[in-house]
Subunit: 242 residues, 6 copies
C-alpha cells in the first residue's frame, strides 16, 4: 500500500487517463496525438519510397524513428537541440529504442523497399514520454500502412501485431505503474518495458537510480508492466477501430 | 479581379480564418496555438532570470526567438534540424525576424535583467508560418508579462503596444492577402510585413521570386498588409480579453 | 535638411564615391573590387561545369553566392567563421540575398547546366557591404559570362539585365541614401533595396531598429533608393565598357 | 542443451576465460586491462580535483565514463569517431551505462568535490565490450580510490561495494551466458545485466533482436547473469588482492 | 643549371619580385599586403587587451595567427572553409606555423597581458603563400607594436628581431629558391624555412613529394633559403622605414 | 658532454630500448605494438578494397593514416577528441605526416585500387609518439602487404623500401637522440626526421621552441637522426624476420 497519494487518486497499478487522437495533423500518412495524462506526444508516420544505404537492393524496407522535445514542453525551458547543433545522448537512446520497438512488429520483407519514418515530438512532458511515443507511434504506423493498402501499394499488411510500452518504477519502496514526472524524479528504480500484443517482451530497460533492486522487485515491476501494456494494446485497437 | 478561385472562396484581401488559443500547454508562462487556416504554430514564452552576455549588468532585459518546423508539418517530410546538426539559413532568418519584431514593441529597460524566450514551433504548415509565429508570439509574450505582473516581479508592463504580421504577394498578377502554401509556391512576389498596432512598419521583406515588381504593385501590397494587420491586432486584443 | 554633417559633406541623397575595378585578381572568370567609399568588397565569379543536385538533369544552370568578412575588415576584430566552425545567421541571410538578387536577372535555362559561384569577401567594411556586394557581383557575373561567350561555350548571354543595390535609412529623422557605418549604427530604420536596370524591385528589406516607420517615410526611402540604384547601374555599365 | 558447439567447448552457463591486469599503463591512477576471452578493454581511472557545473559547490563528487573502440578493434575497420566529428548513438548509450553503473556503487558525498573519469577503450572486440568495460572500470576505480587513500586525500573509501556486468542471450532458443561476437550477431535476444556484489540489479537492458522473449526466458537469462556476475565479482576481488 | 626556364627568366637562386604595402586597410593596427610575384596575402595585426586562458594572470602576452584562402584565390575554386564548417588540416598546420614563427621573435613578458592576432588571408595564390604570410605578418606585427609604443601602452618594443620565411625545392633535380605554383606542383622536394634576422633557424619543414632527398641536396636547399631570407629581411626593413 | 643525466644513463646518441611486437591484436591485416621506452603505440594496418574519390578509376591505390591518443595515455588526462567533436591541429598534423611518410615508400600503382589504412593509437605516451608511430606503421604495413601476397591478391610487393623516424633535439645546449617527454618539454629545438632505408630524407621538421638554432646545430641533429634511423631500420628488419 502507498504512503503517499498519487495525483488523481490513482491506484499503484493504474494507468493515467490515456487519449489517442488520430488524424491530428493533415499532411502525414499517419498522425496521432497520444496523451498519457499530461504527457502529450505527436507521432507522425511518413512513408518514403526509398531505403537507407544498408537496405538498398535488399528487397526489404526500413522503419526508423526520431524523437524530440519542444524546448518548453518541460517544466523549465531546455535548449533547442537544433540550435545546439547536436542531439543529446538521451535523445539518441530514446529514438533508437522507438525504432527497435517498431521494427519488432514489422516484417521488413513484406514492407518492400520503402521507409516508414516515425517522428515523435513531445508537445508537453509529464513523465513517460518515450513509452507514450512507442504506444502512439504504433497507431501512426498502422495508419500509414492503411494508406499503403488503400492505394494498392501493398497487398497485405507488413505489421505482425501490436506493440506498446509503459514505464514502471519503485517510489518510496512501492512499485508503481506509469510514472508521472514527480514520481519519476524521486524514484529508486525506473523501468521501461515494451511488449507485443502477445505478451512477450521486446525491450526491458531497468535502471536503479538510487538503491539497487532485488529480483522480487523486478518480478513485481514486470507484472505491473504486463497489466498496463495489456490495457494500452486494447486502447490502441479501440482507437484504430474508431 | 482573380482569374482563379482561392480556397474557401476567399476574397483577394481576406485573411484565412484565424484562431488564437491561449494556455495551449501547461508549463510555459505564455503558450499560444495560433492558426491561420491550416497553418498551426505553437508559440511559447518562457521567462528566464538572466540575460545573454551582451546585456549583463546593463539593467536591460532581452527578448529572443527560436523557430522550428516539425519534420512532418509539411507536405513531404523534411529532415530534422537537430539530427542534421544545424539550423538552415531559412530557419535562422525567420527566428531573427521574429526576435526583432518582438523587441520592436518591448521596452527592454522596463523589462529588467531577464530574458523572454519565444519558441515558435510549426505543428502544421500551409504558408505564412513566420507571420503566424509573430502574431502568436506577441500574445504569448503578453501572457508571460501577465505572470510577471501578477507575481509582482514587474510593476508595469514593458510592452509598448501590439505587433502583428502578415504575408502578401502577387499571384498571376493579382495582389493577394495572406498567402497559403499553394499560392506561395506559384507567386511572383512574396512580401512579409510586420506592423505595430499604430500602423507603423517594423519590417518589410519583399522578394521577387519571378518577375520584379513595380512601385504600384508595392503600394497595393502594402495596402493589403495594412488591412490584414489591422484585423490581426483586433483578434489579438480579443484573444487577450477572452 | 540634415542637422548633422555627413562625411565628405555628402548630401542626403548622394552616393559615396563608387569605384569598380575589374580584373582585380587573375584566376577567376570575373574578379571585381567594388568600393562604396571605404567599404571594399572583392567579388569573384567562378564558373563550374556542374550544378547542385536539385538542378541535375534539368537543363538549367544555377547561380549562387557566398559572403564573408575578413576578421579585421571591421573596426574591431571579429571571430573568423571558419575557425568557429559555422557561418552566422547574418552571413547566411546576406549570401542568400545576394544569390536571389543575381538569379533575378539570369535566365537559368539559357545558362545551361553549369553553376556560377559569386564569392563576395569584404576586405574593408564601412557600412553597406551587402549592397556593394550585389552591385559588384553583377559586374563579376558579366565578366564570367563574357568568358563563356568568348570561348564559345555560350552563344548568347543568359543575363536579362542589370541589377544593383543600395542601402537607405532614417538617421535622426532624416532619410539618407547609402549609409556608412557611423550612420548605420545610429539609424532608426535601415532598408536594403535591390532593383533591376528597368527600375523594378527585386528585394526590399526594411527594418525599424528603433522607432517604427511610417508609410510616408517608406515612400521617401524608396525614392532615394531608386535614385541611387539608377546611378549605380550607370556606373556598372561604364565599368563594363572600360 | 545446445545444438551447436560454443568455442572452446564452453558450457551454456560458463564465462569465457577472464583476465584482469592492473597497472597496465603507468600514468593513470587506475589502469586495468580486462579480457573476456578475445575481448580486451583498457580501463583507466583518472582523478581530477574539480567537478562538472551541476555539482559545483555541492560538496559532492562525480564519477563519469567515456567509451571508445579503436578503429580496427573490430573484424572490419570502423570509422574513427574523432575523425567523423561525433560519437555514435551506440557509443553514447554505452558510456552513459558505464557511468550510471559506477555511480551506483559510489557515495558521491564521501568522494568530495572531485571527479573520477573512467575511460574504457576497446583494443580488441569479440562481443561483450560494454560488460567487460564495467567490470574492468570498477577495478580501475578501486585503484584510483586506493591512491586517494594512500595520499591522505580521502580518509575512507567512497565505494559502497563491487559492481560487475555480463551479457546473456538466447541463441537458437538456448539461453547462454557471456556471448561472444559470433553468438551476439545471431542471437534472438541480447541482455546486459549489471549487478552489485550483494546480488541486486543496477541495470537490466534486454532487447529482442528477432523473436520477442517470454517471461520464462527472461527468468532463465537473469539466473545466468546472476551466476556470471557472482563469478566476476570474485575475480575482481582476487585481482585487487593480487 | 636549369633545363627549363623559370617565369620572368628568374635565376635558380632568385626571389620573385617582392612588394610590401603597409596600411593596406584602415581599421587594423597593422595591415600589410605582401606580394611574392603573383602571390598576394593580406596580413593584418589586431591588438586585443586580453589573453587566452593559458596565459591569464601570467603577466605575459600572446601572439597567434590565423590563415585563410579566399575561395577563388586559387586556379580553380576551393570550398569556403566557413561554409564547410571546419578548417582543413593544411590550414591548421599553416596557421600554427605562422604563430610559432611570430612568437619566436616576441618577448611575451615584454608584451604584457595582451594578444596580437595576425590574420593572413590569401587574396591570390601562386605558390609560397605560407612563407609570404610569415614575412608579411612580421611587418604587420611591427606596425601594431608601433601603435602600442606611440600610444604609450608599451615603453619598449617586445620584438627581439626580424623573422622571415621562404620556400625552396628541387624541381627536375635542380634546387630552386621561392617556388611558384607551377614549380611547386611538379617538385620532388618542397621545403619551407623560417629564419631570424641573425640567420638562425626557427623552422625547417622539408617534405619529399616524390624521390627522397639526400644530405647534399638538403645543404644546397638550406643555402638557397639563407640567401632568400637575408634579402627578405632587408626588404622588410626598407618597407618599415618607408 | 651532458650536464644532466638521461634516464637509464642513456648516452646522447642512444635510442631508448625499442620493442616491436607483431600480431598484437587479432583482426587487423597488420597489428604492431611499438615501444620506444615508455612510449607505446598500437599501429594497425587495414586493407580495404576501394579507394578515396580522388583515386577512383586511376588504377592506383592509396595509403593513409590516422592518429589518436587515448585520453589517459598522457601524464594528465586530455579530452577525448571524439567527445569534443573534432581532432586538434596537432593530431591532424601528425596523421598527415604519417600518411606522407608511408606513401614515400609505396608504389601506389603496384598496390592496385585498394587502400591501406594505418591507425596509430597511443596507449602510453612518453615523448616521440609520432616517430614511434611511423616506425611501427611501416612494420604493420609490411604485414598487411604480406597477407595480400599470401592470398594472391598481389603478385609483388608495392613497398619500395623501409622507412623509419626518430626525434632529435637540443636540451641545455646538447644535441640528443630520441627525446623522452621530460627532455621534450624543456628542449630549445625539437626535430622529427623521417628517412628511408637508403639514408635519404622523407621529412625533416625542425622547430625552435626557445632559441633559434644554428646551421652547425642543425648538422649535428641530422647526424644523430641518421644514426638512430639506421638502427631503427635494422630493428624493423629483425622484427619482420622474427
Amino acid at each position: 500500500m502507498i504512503e503517499f497519494e498519487r495525483s488523481g487518486s490513482r491506484a499503484a497499478d493504474q494507468l493515467r487517463p490515456i487519449r489517442i487522437t488520430r488524424g491530428y495533423t493533415i499532411h502525414a500518412e499517419g498522425s496521432v496525438l497520444i496523451e498519457f495524462g499530461n504527457t502529450k506526444v505527436l507521432c507522425t508516420a511518413s512513408v518514403e519510397d526509398k531505403v537507407p544505404p544498408h537496405k538498398r537492393g535488399s528487397g526489404e524496407g526500413w522503419v526508423t524513428a526520431e524523437y524530440g522535445m519542444l524546448p518548453r514542453s518541460t517544466h523549465t525551458r531546455s535548449d533547442r537541440e537544433a540550435a545546439r547543433g547536436k542531439q543529446s545522448g538521451r535523445t539518441q537512446e530514446i529514438q533508437r529504442l522507438i525504432g527497435r520497438s517498431m521494427r519488432a512488429v514489422f516484417d521488413l520483407k513484406a514492407l518492400g523497399e520503402r521507409t516508414i519514418h516515425l517522428d515523435c515530438d513531445v508537445l508537453q512532458a509529464d513523465g513517460g514520454t518515450r513509452t507514450a511515443a512507442i504506444t502512439g507511434a504504433f497507431v501512426a504506423a498502422q495508419d500509414a500502412v492503411g494508406t499503403l493498402l488503400a492505394s494498392g501499394k501493398l497487398a497485405a499488411s507488413p505489421i505482425i501485431g501490436p506493440v506498446a510500452a509503459v514505464s514502471v518504477g519503485i517510489v518510496q519502496g512501492v512499485p508503481l505503474l506509469d510514472l508521472e514526472y514527480i514520481e519519476d524524479v524521486s524514484c529508486d528504480t525506473d523501468m521501461n518495458v515494451v511488449m507485443t500484443g502477445a505478451g512477450h517482451f521486446v525491450e526491458v530497460q531497468g535502471t536503479a537510480e538510487g538503491v539497487a533492486f532485488t529480483r522480487d522487485e523486478m518480478n513485481e515491476l514486470l507484472r505491473l508492466a504486463e497489466k498496463g501494456i495489456t490495457e494500452l494494446v486494447a486502447l490502441q485497437k479501440q482507437a484504430l477501430l474508431g
